[in-house]
Symmetry: D4
Subunit: 253 residues, 8 copies
């Protein structure tokens, strides 16, 4: 897809409508805007096929406002903000149309219903404490145009709770399995389904949990096929990847 840009520039050089030094600059540098603290890449949406996302952690409300204003010009709907504190959410809510979920710290500017893929993404959790991470995944996937079904608190120590949802599990296109503690949910779901399972270890637990290391290692060692893992507590990453996979399955017409 970059080649289109390069060929077009080369064409202009050939036609004599562009000098080679300007061409050189055009070929070397992708257009992005320098705000002083972060380079916004308007082309990325096209390159990666997704709405804009702002990683809120470590950014001031003022910085985020600047980024949002820059993004709105070309992306008027469904700008996703992850790890958005309540304080920053209040600040932004006064300036933009913001939907905010306290549990997952997800904010969405100009939220609009969107369904662009035909399959269903299941987001499942082992316990109730895993729900904030799961909601980060679920809301991310919804903003990106997916139908999401939530199966919360279906951990493996009460396997009948999970088995009662066997029909959903059998028909999903992709499943996000969110679990802390021993992280066994991913393996059990991986054994029950024949679709990709994205495992999200959470830092829920204490002691020999070591801030999520226990669930992380469990999931990496899953004996079920079709399971891959993202970073501890990375609900956004799982939701984003689930959407990517779900859109391979064809669009909703």
């Amino acid at each position: 897809m970059e080649s289109q840009h390069m060929l077009s520039v080369l064409k202009q050089v050939q036609d004599g409508t562009l000098d080679i030094h300007t061409a050189y600059e055009k070929l070397k540098i992708s257009p992005f805007e320098d705000l002083g603290y972060a380079k916004i890449d308007h082309h990325r949406k096209i390159r990666q096929g997704t709405p804009e996302v702002i990683y809120g952690a470590g950014k001031t409300a003022g910085q985020m406002e600047g980024i949002i204003r820059s993004l709105l010009s070309h992306c008027p709907k469904n700008i996703l903000i992850t790890r958005l504190s309540e304080e920053s959410a209040s600040y932004l809510a006064e300036r933009f149309s913001l939907t905010y979920d306290k549990l997952s710290h997800i904010g969405i500017i100009n939220r609009t219903e969107l369904l662009t893929a035909s399959g269903t993404i299941i987001v499942a959790t082992g316990g109730t404490s895993d729900i904030p991470v799961a909601e980060e995944a679920a809301l991310t996937a919804e903003v990106l145009g997916n139908k999401v079904e939530r199966l919360y608190d279906v951990g493996v120590s009460g396997i009948h709770r999970l088995l009662s949802h066997i029909d959903s599990i059998s028909t999903a296109t992709v499943i996000v399995a969110v679990a802390g503690m021993e992280g066994a949910l991913a393996s059990v779901i991986g054994g029950l389904s024949d679709c990709p399972v994205i495992a999200v270890p959470t830092s829920v637990g204490y002691g020999a949990n070591f801030q999520g290391l226990s669930a992380l290692l469990s999931m990496l060692n899953s004996c079920a096929s079709g399971v891959s893992v993202v970073n501890i507590d990375n609900g956004f990453g799982a939701g984003y990847l689930a959407s990517m996979i779900n859109h391979i399955g064809g669009n909703e017409e």
Copy 2:
């Protein structure tokens, strides 16, 4: 899918053609065959939609022979054996039609060309030492009916080597990025493509590599979206998952 089985059993009870104690047994137990050392599940192929796979590590050649004979009755082609030693391969080659790849220690019984998905899977490596793991992924994906393109030795310390393949990267359905040492390949590919990237850390390296920990942590912390990770050196798992995702994109007709 289980529900069909359950409803059929219940129907027979209703009809009076099955007593409740036999029904109870049928509902409780899925059919599988007990060889003494491993339970072969003939239904799994249907449930998970894939050919049979034997994990060769820790199994004697004799045990594998028994498993293969049991599987052949219902799965006559493309039985995949991972981590198959050269010694066991010799033993099996005398008894079956075996294709064996020394580098990746992959064996295939009754190998047959198969193309059941329309997309392309790229398998890329950072260095030449990562190739055995990459071949495990690539051969697994091929046996499972996928078209595979290999991009080997395109590590990030010579970024132009990777960039020269930008067209392939742009059009792949799913990419398997195999790398040891610093494991940066997954992030760079993740930034260049808009398809799912399955990262496979390898144990290639020494010192502070700590048997693959370095690459594993790098890949889990990737700042690129769409990247997920499997276990260190788990080429099979990556190839299997890549095939699963590629088949979501529709079948080859």
Copy 3:
């Protein structure tokens, strides 16, 4: 129980049949025999209620022969030897009546059928590679007088295999769950049963398994109640503890 000994000594002092210096020595030192390389404690059997056990790792066949000869005088049957190499087993087999299991490296001198507890111990494994550790547990429990039921290769990625044994699981007195890789077996069994579950992580696996760390952490973080954990690959410890618990439930008459 020590008090009987102390009171008897004190009585002799009171009666004047024992001088205080001899009494002092008797009170201070328990009787044990010094072989130069290991102190054999003949009283331990009484104190801990079990036959003698020799930890074979790091002992020469000759050293073990000496220990066995010393033990036979007061413990004529069912001397258990763990981690016994094939070489040492050959040496001992020429000198004693030895039953040897190659898989688990368990040796038993003068093996005799014994059933002293009324309950049943289940020993379950996640995969076939976990069987050596499981057999160490099972044979230990059998030598200690327990009825043992083996459920091998019932790992959580094929949950129906485990569920088909729900009746056994429901009626066991204590369950030993042996698993490597992600170690989820303990949690699932813990959720299905209402008896103590002794989890044995194994070093089976590779990569991020880190020689059993993954299964160990999983099992320690189990969200099921009633689960406790022994050292990685410690089948003997699990079998011994299971026997201890099973004997609380009353003797076989």
Copy 4:
């Protein structure tokens, strides 16, 4: 025990009093109540033979109130709440009859004396700083119907303090050994007693203690037989398992 339910449903189908579709639903799903944040399983008490327990960490006082109200309908006494903050305890104390222990953060709704097993559980600690975890174990065991004897501050660096309790140690049915720092208490007690020892590492200590890792590894490597380990600071788990084992020994009449 599930089989009774299944057979009863199958009987109704056989009798024609139940259609197969309703039967299918009954067989597939166990009854539980959906509160939106946690699924309460009224059948679990029967399956696992214990009163209800609420894991208080990460739950709001309001959420706990809802769960308690739901539980009270079928479990009117001795609902145990672990990791209950003082704030939430105040809130609940205004609405229920709550017994609260500040040290261990244990709350009990409608506490009632209960003795259902004949043996004695010893809960021992190495130091005074381990007492909060020990009390979590002791109170849990008491609520579950056990007689508990506390031996606090009997750490191994003053071995005479522990030895002075040798009579209690000799007659206990099960011992919970709670210790931080070097965690040696479990091994010494394991060598003195012939009953199961449940070791609870605590995070008490500093420096190379690494939040309980030191005690955890010590206990897992115990050279005494009959010792198993639960998670760091998991007093509840130890008390629960101790009760399970103690009840094997027969009921108090």
Copy 5:
């Protein structure tokens, strides 16, 4: 030394002045006083030859008051309290004659000059940030009757600072080397001196220091002979051990 007690009891039994049941109790239990939260062992001073020490961390001011009152009856001077917070120090200062050092959080009740050993203990630090731990060691050693010389901020990156004290180093009886970061001080001092060096790693540093792990491992791997290591930040332990060694060298007359 215990034997004196035992022989005396046995003598009384022999003489008929003590019945055997009372004797049994006397032999079994060492005398200590139960305050409910900590068992004070008045005999320990004699057994270990040192004044009393209270580990202040995790104890309330009230609890410490109780312990101090109990101790004062037999140990009227120089009661050492480690890890004493400023708040608790204020509380105790109102009730006792307390000397308090804010930097090291050491408190001393009824401090009195004391010199009972003839040698000199050097306490050296790598940097200024290590001084709190060093003072814990130095004050402990002083309270225990030692002459202490402080060499602070003589870290190895300016080796001339350390070398300028070569005369002191050559004549010390024992040296406490306190250092964080790379912890090299212990090795260099170990090479310069021919007396025991007690190394105290500190948690001073950041990043790959990992809370003192870096200095701890360095010190354990010291290539200099005569170096041993105590826990991270354990100034008290080092001062106590230094005093023990210094007193082997003979008393100050």
Copy 6:
């Protein structure tokens, strides 16, 4: 350089203008001033060729004031203070001419423009969250007399952003690569340039980042030549080393 001092002292002994005991003292001890809490070494500037630096962490504002006053007598300009809190900065600003950068917590007393080396140092970051560490490096290098070019937010997941600066990268004398998360920036820059690359891992990230361990290991395992690593978040160390290397390249005239 020390030899000049030694020879001069020896000359005076030879000349009889110095007695041997005074000479001994002069040879043994380098001159430094003892402030009680830190030994200031006025000779170090000469020995290491750099202005004075105060490591602010763990020092009170008052302590720093004392050190500054001592240093000013011989180093009137550009005293660098790292890890200076805002509170201490306020205190010092009232007493000295202080330039303070909030982001990097760098303070400079009597800042003066200085350019003593001819090459250029590039300081690059992977993301915006790495900027505080990068500024610590950049300001340190500037105070030490270097020309610094900043390339911020050029992380590898958007490789075109980095490639657009290829001309700067090609002509730099030394590059400081600052990155958290997967830390791949150092390898990619190392592959693009032919000058030394100093890699600074940062603690930016979460989960399996483990406070910078992920980036640290990545950078140590870099497959690009010419890359070395400093401690996590050690911007100062990188800036200082970069200056040292840059000055090898010759002075600015």
Copy 7:
């Protein structure tokens, strides 16, 4: 430097001597040769200014022969092979003019004296066991045109050995400090010199050395300025970087 290539291609398009599709291909792909197992980049020498290097680990003698033949066409002298086994060295010695050092496993094809930089590189080791890694560094630096001075076995536990070389240390341009065990050498040298110090941790040691982790952490936490670290046992990387830095200082004429 790439810009020259790009501008030249663009010039040809402008002149009409090159069509845009050929230009596109030229701009996208750097020339390299595909041997099937490793891509040789003839341009790299120019880009990075160094002779060719082959990482011998994991390559067969035959593969290395192929690579060498390809390289010789444009790089006739001083091809460096690291981690070359004795077996492979024998094979290559029969086919090329090979200089081989058994200790460091370094091989050099067509070795020729070369001195292209004016400064001196010191390579120092803590002990004799570190010499193989040090020789890897020293030989690499020599092949790259540097004067190298070796200071072996000057570890910090005998500081006078190091201090006796103070003159060399004072005049070096860059120092490579190679040490295992506690790795303190780098800090002490860093304090004595005012030039860059490249620290190489080695895996020499045992126990809490953890395969070089101890030295690695020590060196990363060095309190001396100007110290940076490469991977454990990475002598080549240190020698290469030292050469890079030394060449900044101007060429030998």
Copy 8:
């Protein structure tokens, strides 16, 4: 002690019998002999007061022969060689009078009875597998002139075995406690004695022992006072330090 040398040199300069340049050289360099592979420091014996020791690991028999010949000129008796392989021992035995202990791999050249300190060193082990490390400590201490008492196999899981030696423990000058697995021996001995305890963790064990980490952490966290720790399996270091401490207590006349 160095001052004598310095003063003597200065005196000669003063007297005019030495020129300043020669004096400079004498002052700067301590005399040692360069064998090419290791610098032997004949002065070290005087400085550190001990016979010579050769660390045999990683040295060829030939290298050791050279070192021994050099040492014999000034140290004719009791040269200690640690980690000496059986092969090298055979080689040396043909050339010198060598006493060799297979278990501990200790060799002694020209062994001679020696008793230079009046106290007794106890060397205790937890199990029989710890004896090789313990013998390394015991033989080292004997060669260095100490009386050594061995208490082997007195681990804490059979505490009565240890307690039966209470008289020895009470009268020792210093105790070396050698233990693997949970390493609790050091704490229990530390509580029973009032002399310094040197703890030696061993790598004996398996699984969560992690090559001695478990025992190491236990010993560092010992709650007994007077305990310090050396590296895993470092019997020599413990024996050497024990001798150093024992000699403080005065010489044997």
